[in-house]
C-alpha cells in the first residue's frame, strides 16, 4: 500500500530529478519499491546512470537490479534501439537488448533473467518464441506466479481472450487468493460480456477487500448488465447519457428484477463508501430505480417503501454537474425529467 507521504516524496524526487538536481538513484529505488508506472522517466535516468561508468561502479551489486529495472522500462516504452552517450570504457551504446544480454552473461540460467529474455521476445512480437521460453522456465519452476501471468499477457496481446481466460483459470486454481488475477479475469469477462462470470469474480474481490468502493461499483454494474440481453446492453450504454423512451424496447429476463435490486443495493454501498462523490454510482441509482419501477409498474399493487434515495441521488447529481460541468446541466435535467416521468 502506498502511503501518502511516500507518494509525495516520489513526486518531489521526480521534480527534482527532472530539473537536473541529483538524487536519480534514490528516485529509482523509490520507484522500484512503490511500483508506479513511470517508465519513460526510469528509462531516461536509469540509462544516464548506466552509461556513466563512475556512477555505475558506485552502485556495486545493485547495478544488476538497475539493469533489470531499465530493461523493464525499455520494454514498456518500446525502445528497441535506444542509443545513448558513448562512454570511454564501454564503447557500445546501451540499449534494450544489451541490458538483457549483459544480465544473461552475468547470471546464466537464472529464472529472473530467463523471464527478461521472454519479455524481450514478447516486446519484439515474436509470440511463439516467447511461449517456448516460458514453457521451458515453467518446467523448472512450476510455481512461479509471474510466468503464468506473462502467458496470460501474451494471449491477451494476441487478442485471444478465450485462451487468456483459460490460462487465468488454471492459474487461479492454484493461486486462488491473488486478487489482482481475479480483477484481471473480471475485466476480461466484462469485455467478453459474460456478466455472470464477471459477477462471480467481483464477489471474490469483494470478499478479500470489502472496503474498496470500486469493486462494489463494478459488481453493481455487472449485476445490472446481467438483466439485459446482449442487444439491449449496447442500447443501455447509449442510454446512460441520453435516456429516451427506448427503455421500453429493451428486453428483460425473469431474473431481471432481482438483479436490479441487488445492483441498486451495491450502488448504494458504493455511495456510502465513497461519501457520495462517485458520479457513476449516483447515475446507477437513478437508472436502477427507474428500471425497477418500470418493471414493477403493472405487477404488484402494494407499493414498495419508496425511499428518498433516487431523488437524493438526482439532487446530488444536479449539484455536482452545476459545479463541475455546467454546460451539460440541461442534458442532465432532461434525462432526469424523463426518468421521473416514466416512473
Amino acid at each position: 500500500m502506498v502511503g501518502a507521504e511516500e507518494a509525495a516524496r516520489l513526486d518531489r524526487l521526480e521534480i527534482q530529478v527532472e530539473n537536473g538536481g541529483g538524487g536519480a538513484w534514490e528516485y529509482l529505488c523509490l520507484v522500484r519499491k512503490l511500483k508506479p508506472r513511470r517508465s519513460d522517466k526510469v528509462l531516461k535516468h536509469g540509462l544516464a546512470i548506466l552509461n556513466d561508468p563512475k556512477a555505475r561502479s558506485n552502485l556495486g551489486g545493485e547495478e544488476w537490479t538497475l539493469y533489470e529495472q531499465v530493461a523493464f522500462a525499455a520494454f514498456d516504452c518500446q525502445q528497441h534501439n535506444v542509443a545513448k552517450v558513448f562512454s570511454l570504457s564501454l564503447p557500445l551504446p546501451l540499449h534494450m537488448c544489451d541490458c538483457v544480454a549483459v544480465l544473461s552473461k552475468e547470471f546464466p540460467g537464472s529464472l529472473r533473467v530467463g523471464r527478461l529474455e521472454g519479455m524481450l521476445l514478447e516486446a519484439e512480437n515474436s509470440w511463439a518464441e516467447a511461449e517456448k521460453v516460458y514453457a521451458r522456465l515453467l518446467e523448472d519452476n512450476p510455481l512461479d506466479q509471474i510466468i503464468y501471468k506473462r502467458k496470460v499477457a501474451i494471449a491477451k496481446a494476441q487478442g485471444d481472450l478465450k485462451v487468456a481466460v483459460d490460462f487465468l483459470n488454471k492459474y487461479l486454481e492454484i493461486f486462488m487468493s491473488d486478487h489482482d488475477a481475479w480483477r484481471e479475469l473480471a475485466e476480461i469477462y466484462v469485455s467478453l460480456q459474460m456478466y455472470k462470470q464477471a459477477a462471480f469474480c467481483y464477489e471474490e474481490l469483494l470478499l478479500s477487500q470489502p472496503t474498496v468502493s470500486l469493486y462494489h461499483l463494478a459488481y453493481a454494474e455487472a449485476n445490472e448488465s446481467q438483466c439485459i440481453e446482449y442487444s439491449g446492453f449496447i442500447i443501455l450504454l447509449f442510454l446512460r447519457f441520453l435516456l429516451t423512451a427506448f427503455i421500453e424496447q429493451v428486453l428483460y429476463t425473469m431474473g431481471g428484477l432481482e438483479n436490479l435490486l441487488t445492483a441498486k443495493k451495491y450502488y448504494a454501498s458504493t455511495i456510502t463508501l465513497s461519501g457520495g462523490k462517485n458520479t457513476r454510482a449516483l447515475y446507477g441509482i437513478c437508472l436502477c430505480s427507474a428500471a425497477i419501477s418500470q418493471l414493477t409498474k403493472g405487477r404488484s399493487k402494494e407499493e414498495k417503501e419508496s425511499s428518498d434515495l433516487p431523488s437524493l441521488a438526482a439532487e446530488a447529481l444536479l449539484r455536482d454537474y452545476k459545479y463541475r460541468a455546467p454546460k451539460k446541466l440541461p442534458l442532465l435535467n432532461s434525462m432526469l425529467k424523463n426518468m421521473k416521468l416514466s416512473s
Binding site: 510455481l143 492454484i174 493461486f175 486462488m176 487468493s177 491473488d178 448504494a268 455511495i271 456510502t272 457520495g276
Partner: protein
C-alpha cells in the same frame, strides 16, 4: 550476608564486555554459515495450493456479509462438501503428519542442519564460559533472588553466605543469549538464524499445519450464519447523501 561487595572495575573490562563481544561475533558467524548452508526448499504445489485455499476460505468467512446469500451458499458448498470440497480432508490423510515428516529426507536434513547450527555453538560457548568465567563474582543482579538460583547462577562460588544477587559469568551468558536476539534483528535484518528462543518454541508445535488449518477453516465455515448487510447500505446511502446535500 547483606553486606555489599565491591566489585573490581577490571571485572567489567575483562569479563562482561569480552563475553558480550564474543557472543555477538558468534552470532554473526552462525548467521553467515547458515546462509551458506541453507538449501533452497522448493515449495510443494499441494502445499501452496492449500495455503491459498485457507486464505480464500478465511476471506469468505470474514466478509460473508458483503455478498448475496445465494453466492455465499454456493461458495460454502464448494468449500465444505463431503465429496470434493476443497477443505474436506479425508480421515486417512490426517494421520500422515508424523510419518511424512520423518520419511521426507529433505525435511529431516533441514531440521538436522538447523539443530546443529543452533546447538553446537551454544554448547561450545557454554563450556567455554564455564571454564574461564567461573569461580568468581562477576556481577550483581539488581533484584533479590531466592536460594534456588544459587546453583544455576553462582557457578563455582561455593560460599553459601554470599548473597544470591552476586552471580558468576554464567548468568551473564544466559542474559546475553536471550537479550542479543533483539540486537541481531536490528543489525542483520529480520530473518536471522539466531532466533534460538523462537526456534525452541516452534520445535514443540510441529506437525502438518495445512491439514489442521483446513479442518479448522471448514468447521468455522460450517458454523457461519449468513447475514447480508447490503440492505442496510441503502439506508446509509440516504443518510450520506442527505448530509452531503445539506
Amino acid at each position: 550476608m547483606a553486606e555489599d561487595l565491591v566489585l573490581d572495575r577490571a571485572i567489567r573490562d575483562w569479563v562482561l564486555i569480552p563475553l558480550s563481544v564474543v557472543m555477538v561475533l558468534i552470532g554473526f558467524l552462525r548467521y553467515f554459515v547458515s546462509k551458506l548452508m541453507r538449501s533452497y526448499q522448493t515449495p510443494d504445489r499441494k502445499v501452496v495450493k492449500e495455503g491459498q485455499v485457507v486464505l480464500r476460505a478465511r476471506n469468505l468467512r470474514v466478509a460473508a456479509g458483503f455478498i448475496p446469500t445465494k453466492s455465499f451458499w454456493s461458495r460454502r458448498v464448494y468449500f465444505t462438501n463431503e465429496e470434493n470440497g476443497l477443505l474436506h480432508v479425508p480421515k486417512e490423510q490426517a494421520q500422515n503428519p508424523q510419518a511424512q515428516m520423518f520419511s521426507d529426507p529433505n525435511m529431516a536434513m533441514d531440521m538436522m542442519k538447523k539443530n546443529i547450527s543452533m546447538i553446537v555453538p551454544q554448547t561450545l560457548t557454554f563450556t567455554w564460559v564455564n571454564f574461564f568465567f567461573s569461580g568468581f563474582v562477576a556481577a550483581k543482579i539488581p533484584f533479590p533472588l531466592t536460594h534456588r538460583f544459587r546453583g544455576m547462577l553462582q557457578n563455582g562460588i561455593d560460599l553459601s553466605t554470599v548473597d544470591v544477587s552476586y552471580v558468576s559469568g554464567r548468568s551473564w551468558y544466559f542474559l546475553n543469549l536471550f537479550g542479543l536476539r533483539g540486537l541481531f534483528s536490528l543489525i542483520l535484518g529480520e530473518e536471522n538464524a539466531t532466533d534460538d528462543a523462537q526456534r525452541m518454541m516452534q520445535m514443540g508445535g510441529f506437525g502438518f499445519d495445512p491439514t489442521k488449518s483446513l479442518s479448522a477453516e471448514k468447521d468455522s465455515l460450517d458454523i457461519i450464519q449468513h447475514e447480508w448487510i447490503l440492505p442496510k447500505m441503502e439506508k446509509r446511502a440516504e443518510d450520506v447523501l442527505k448530509k452531503l446535500l445539506k
